[in-house]
């Protein structure tokens, strides 16, 4: 019986909407604007099927900006959830900066759960969608009443970018800027953390000094960062590559095909191979000549030399997978 209240509210909203449709554009704007300045969290106005129709009804002498979104966790819309706080921030700071409504803009949000019909009638396949309905009458009227659609193709957007887009379409009207609230918690926690770490380092100074001055630790850090960078970690970071991918047969494909692409796991494998090779190299160059027992030394040479050879051969074969024309190979992996 869960659908019953929903149905009731929807039908109620529809009834009120049909009533409201008879209001003039001026009245509609005033009522929505009054609603949005009523409390600090009222903007953007949460719309439903009916109120959306009223919100965007023609003729209108105001601009209506609506985000059609799908916040329900069933839809798993990451972009919607990332954009919503930015949109709320934009709407709130705009409304707050323009209490008199002289910019004649209304902000609204229509969630899929409340506005299934609107989504269907607009034929929307994706969310979020930001529509900007220009005024059809009045001093700011534009000839083409079709709503403008904001492009989300570049991933999640921040409030300032959307603000500039909206402002661009509303010439000669005030554009209250986006005001991000000061994150007091963050400031306080940062200060406390900084002071705490200062105190801690002052107290623990005698213990920290040997760590800071330890050559082994610095050498390890240096080598790890070099291995990270040379195994393509920055590429993963910038391009946001997938960690692994399916090979289409239900298995896992560890290595991306193609010279210019890679997976996250692939770079880790390569970093591990490089690390193993470097370790073998370090052992052969530094450790082995310092072994004073001749038998142990012989075993060490054989072991590290073997590891070096086999790992290098494997690396060559992996590289041949990336670059099919590559002609060089070493025995175990021919």
């Amino acid at each position: 019986m869960r659908w019953l209240p929903a149905f009731l509210t929807a039908s109620l909203a529809f009834a009120s909407g049909s009533l409201a449709a008879k209001k003039t554009s001026e009245e509609r704007f005033n009522s929505f604007h009054a609603k949005s300045i009523a409390s600090s969290s009222a903007a953007p106005i949460k719309l439903s099927d009916a109120s959306y129709r009223e919100f965007t009804a023609q003729p209108r002498d105001y601009t209506a900006a609506v985000v059609l979104t799908a916040m329900d966790s069933r839809f798993n819309c990451q972009l919607c959830r990332e954009f919503q706080p930015e949109w709320d921030l934009l709407a709130r700071s705009w409304v707050k900066g323009d209490k008199s409504g002289s910019s004649r803009v209304l902000f609204g949000t229509l969630d899929f759960a409340d506005g299934r019909e609107i989504f269907m009638s607009l034929g929307l396949q994706t969310a979020p969608v930001l529509l900007l309905f220009p005024p059809t009458v009045g001093p700011h009227a534009v000839p083409n009443p079709e709503p403008l659609r904001y492009d989300f193709s570049n991933g999640p957007q921040i409030a300032e970018v959307v603000h500039s887009w909206i402002a661009r379409h509303l010439p000669d009207r005030p554009h209250p800027p986006v005001k991000r609230p000061i994150n007091w918690m963050r400031w306080i926690s940062t200060t406390i953390l900084a002071l705490g770490s200062l105190t801690a380092s002052y107290v623990a100074w005698p213990y920290i000094v040997p760590i800071i001055q330890s050559r082994n630790i610095w050498a390890a850090l240096t080598l790890i960062s070099i291995l990270l960078f040379t195994s393509g970690h920055m590429y993963n970071h910038i391009r946001k590559v997938p960690y692994v991918a399916s090979d289409g047969k239900g298995g896992i494909s560890y290595f991306a095909s193609g010279f210019q692409s890679q997976y996250g796991l692939e770079t880790q494998i390569v970093a591990a191979l490089y690390g193993l090779l470097s370790l073998a190299g370090i052992s052969l160059a530094i450790k082995v000549p310092r072994i004073s027992d001749s038998k142990t030394q012989g075993v060490a040479v054989l072991a590290w030399g073997g590891i070096f050879f086999v790992t290098y051969a494997f690396l060559l074969s992996v590289f041949r997978g990336k670059n099919p024309g590559y002609p060089f190979r070493l025995p175990p992996f021919v």
Partner: protein, 746 residues
């Protein structure tokens, strides 16, 4: 007999002077090898300038040789960036042109008549020989083994990471800049080790030459202060550091400010601030050091160090304030995008669009450095063993070099020298341990064990024990054989990579015929030659900026935009003209007095570097300036695909670029079977029609297509109605012709 010969051979290397001679011979051979390995393209194709930027450098060099140095310095070029022009003399790095100009004049003075083109083509290989020598010198400062220096020279000479930018014909700034980079580092290490003003001044001199040659000089400007800073943090401040750094900084900055393009940047921009800051900090430290030596109180010393630290933090804060207040220019986009890697994609699409500025995937590292890429950490680790001032330099350089190389493909070039040096140190250490005939005796062993009990004070855990040596002959020979195999593979790898990947001029393309013979595709030069011979001297050519330098260099015609990319708006204008409808583009082209439009089309041949593939960047750059008129989204189908076939979006089909690319293309095929071989797309049966442009020239393989911009209509119609009228007329004519044929009898 054989024993005697062996003895003779073994004795050859023993005398000091013989070794010196051998070293010189080996170095000369390495230099020869590094030059020879860069000549593939000259042998396969011809002595020709490659790619894009080299064509500008070549054109500038010709101007320098023809007009003299002072005219070159004041050169205002009105044949590029029409109608703006470019103050070329003040916006280029003149080092490269001046170098080849000087070489040309020197050869002429020696009565060797050589074409300036050949000087330009062969400059990069010649300098790579010098780079090998510089790498030898730099490595010898790091280690006592001379073999390490020779190995480093060899690696530097043939590592593909460096060859990629220095093959014959690749007449670019990097051709001489890498030599200057390595040599400046060598001089810096030398100055630092000796605390010598002379070496510091030499370092500044070569630094000045580097600034005159390549924008990458900022790498030195940031790395040397960083090295000094790390040394200070390690408590290694010394008068040597003070003398060498201040000499380098004062003279080097003065030298760099002589280049008009650099001017006052060294005191105004953020990327030069570390060098200035460390300079000031060193003065403070020198003063404190003096005071400390005069007042030997312990508490006062602590106070002094705290004072120094406080001043450092405060000046850092002042720097931040000055930057945000606008007194000091913030990091320029190209440098800033190295730190904030997402920055360029959002704010400066023109930087993000260049393929050299993409991040590096791991195969590229292995491709460019082969075994050096994993021997390199071994060498860095070995530097920790001794950790003298110069080893700190290698470590700092290694970390930052690999970071930058990971962020930008192009900076693989700055990583390569340190990889070669560190790799050579590692490999020579291994070879030195395993390539000795001497086997450790009982005494050595006992001495080692005794020393072990005492415990040495070396910082590295793995190097606490003393070196004993290698016992078994077989383990020695195994390792030596292994290393020989790896080094052989390295040499073959380098040759293979150079021959296959880095030796194509990209102006001339090579393909294989079915019978295996080579077929040369020479469309670019064909088209540029056509422009040169068939158009007016001042006919303005509009093309995407990639081809601006080539048109200027090969066709000698004015262009709207070129690879200098100094004016983003102008480039966006061209992008807008290319990505808009004809009605929008035509006024833009008229306003810019465009006579011809040139597009690159790979659909017939399957050539991937064509304009349709670059098209989205034009759209993006244009959208950055005119977001209301050009929208990237409109070029994607509702399902988010970038298509060129029948299902392409209307915006795509109506864009000037699409029309110019596919105009008349379907006439090559039977009706309805036109296929774009690059994108594997079947094209619609009716091709696009053009009304404001007319096809002027299409090269043999359709790679280059040139269109002439029509003049205004004689009777004042707009072009679309004029075209429609003409089409209608033609149709009538064809129907008329269908009457019975009559044999004409005179």
């Amino acid at each position: 007999m054989s024993a005697e010969t062996l003895q003779v051979l073994a004795d050859v290397g023993k005398g000091k002077s013989t070794r010196g001679v051998l070293r010189v011979i080996i170095l000369a051979l390495i230099a020869g090898a590094s030059i020879a390995s860069r000549l593939f393209s000259v042998i396969r194709f011809e002595s020709i300038i490659h790619e894009f930027d080299p064509w500008f450098n070549f054109r500038a060099t010709k101007y320098l040789v023809a007009n003299g140095f002072y005219n070159f310095w004041d050169w205002f070029d009105d044949r590029t960036w029409h109608p703006l022009g470019r103050v070329t003399g003040g916006t280029l790095y003149p080092g490269l042109m001046v170098t080849s100009g000087a070489i040309w004049h020197a050869l002429r003075a020696l009565t060797i008549p050589v074409d300036i083109r050949n000087v330009c083509v062969l400059l990069a290989p010649a300098f790579s020989g010098l780079t090998a020598v510089a790498a030898y010198l730099l490595t010898n400062e790091m280690t006592t083994y001379n073999s390490a220096g020779l190995l480093a020279a060899l690696f530097m000479g043939i590592a593909p990471g460096y060859i990629s930018r220095s093959v014959a014909g690749s007449y670019d700034n990097e051709a001489i800049a890498i030599f200057l980079l390595v040599f400046t580092f060598y001089l810096w290490i030398k100055a630092l080790k000796q605390g010598s003003m002379l070496w510091g001044a030499l370092c500044a001199l070569f630094y000045g030459y580097m600034v005159a040659s390549w924008g990458g000089y900022a790498f030195i400007t940031c790395l040397l202060p960083l090295h000094a800073f790390v040394l200070i943090l390690m408590g290694r401040y010394s008068t040597r550091l003070y003398v060498s750094y201040t000499t380098w900084y004062a003279l080097g900055t003065l030298a760099s400010m002589q280049i008009p393009f650099v001017g006052f940047l060294p005191v105004k921009t953020s990327e030069h601030m570390p060098a200035l800051g460390i300079f000031g900090f060193l003065q403070l430290l020198a003063f404190l050091d003096y005071v400390r030596s005069a007042i030997p109180s312990r508490q006062f010393q602590t106070f002094l160090w705290l004072f120094a630290g406080g001043i450092f933090v405060m000046s850092l804060a002042a720097l931040v304030v000055a930057t945000s207040a606008g007194v000091i220019a913030p990091w320029s986009g190209r440098f800033y995008s190295l730190w904030d890697t997402g920055y360029a994609k959002i704010h400066i699409p023109i930087i993000a669009s260049v393929s050299e500025h993409q991040p590096t995937a791991w195969p590229a590292f292995f491709f460019d450095l082969n075994l050096l890429i994993f021997v390199f950490p071994v060498g860095v680790y070995l530097c920790f063993q001794e950790l003298a001032d110069e080893h700190v330099f290698i470590i700092v350089y290694a970390v930052f070099g690999s970071y930058f190389a990971g962020v930008m493909v192009r900076l693989m070039l700055t990583l390569t020298p340190v990889v070669c040096v560190a790799g050579a140190i590692a490999i020579s250490t291994i070879l030195n341990n395993y390539l000795v005939a001497k086997t450790p005796t009982e005494e050595d062993q006992q001495a080692a064990e005794a020393a072990e009990k005492k415990g040495s004070k070396s910082g590295l855990k793995s190097a606490t024990k003393p070196v004993v040596g290698i016992y078994g002959l077989w383990s020695k020979s195994l390792m030596v054989a292994g290393m020989a195999v790896y080094l052989l593979i390295f040499v073959m790898h380098c040759t293979w990579v150079t021959s296959n990947a880095y030796s194509s001029p990209s102006v001339v393309l090579a393909s294989r015929m079915p019978d295996g013979s080579q077929h040369i595709i020479d469309d670019y030069r064909e088209a540029y030659q056509w422009l040169r011979q068939n158009t007016k001297e001042d006919a303005k050519i509009m093309s995407w900026w990639d081809y601006g330098y080539q048109i200027g260099g090969m066709a000698d015609r004015p262009t709207l935009v070129d690879n200098n990319t100094w004016n983003n708006t102008h480039i966006a204008t061209v992008g807008k003209a290319m990505s808009s409808r004809e009605e929008v583009s035509y006024p833009i082209m008229r306003q810019h007095e465009v006579d011809y439009v040139l597009v690159v089309f790979g659909g017939l041949l399957g050539y991937s570097g064509d304009d349709i593939n670059k098209f989205l960047w034009m759209v993006r750059i244009a959208e950055g300036i005119w977001p209301d008129e050009v929208s990237e989204r409109a070029f994607f189908t509702p399902r988010g695909e970038y298509r060129v076939d029948g299902e392409a979006t209307e915006t795509m089909k109506n864009s000037l670029m699409y029309k110019m690319s596919y105009y008349n293309f379907n006439n090559l095929f039977p009706p309805g079977q036109a296929v774009d071989r690059m994108r594997q797309a079947r094209l619609p049966e009716v091709g696009p029609s053009l009304s404001t442009l007319e096809e002027a020239f299409t090269s043999e393989n359709w790679i280059i297509r040139i269109y002439k911009v029509k003049d205004l209509d004689n009777v004042g119609r707009d072009h679309i109605s004029a075209t429609a009228f003409e089409k209608g007329l033609k149709k009538k004519k064809t129907t008329k012709k269908r009457g019975p044929r009559v044999l004409r009898v005179d």
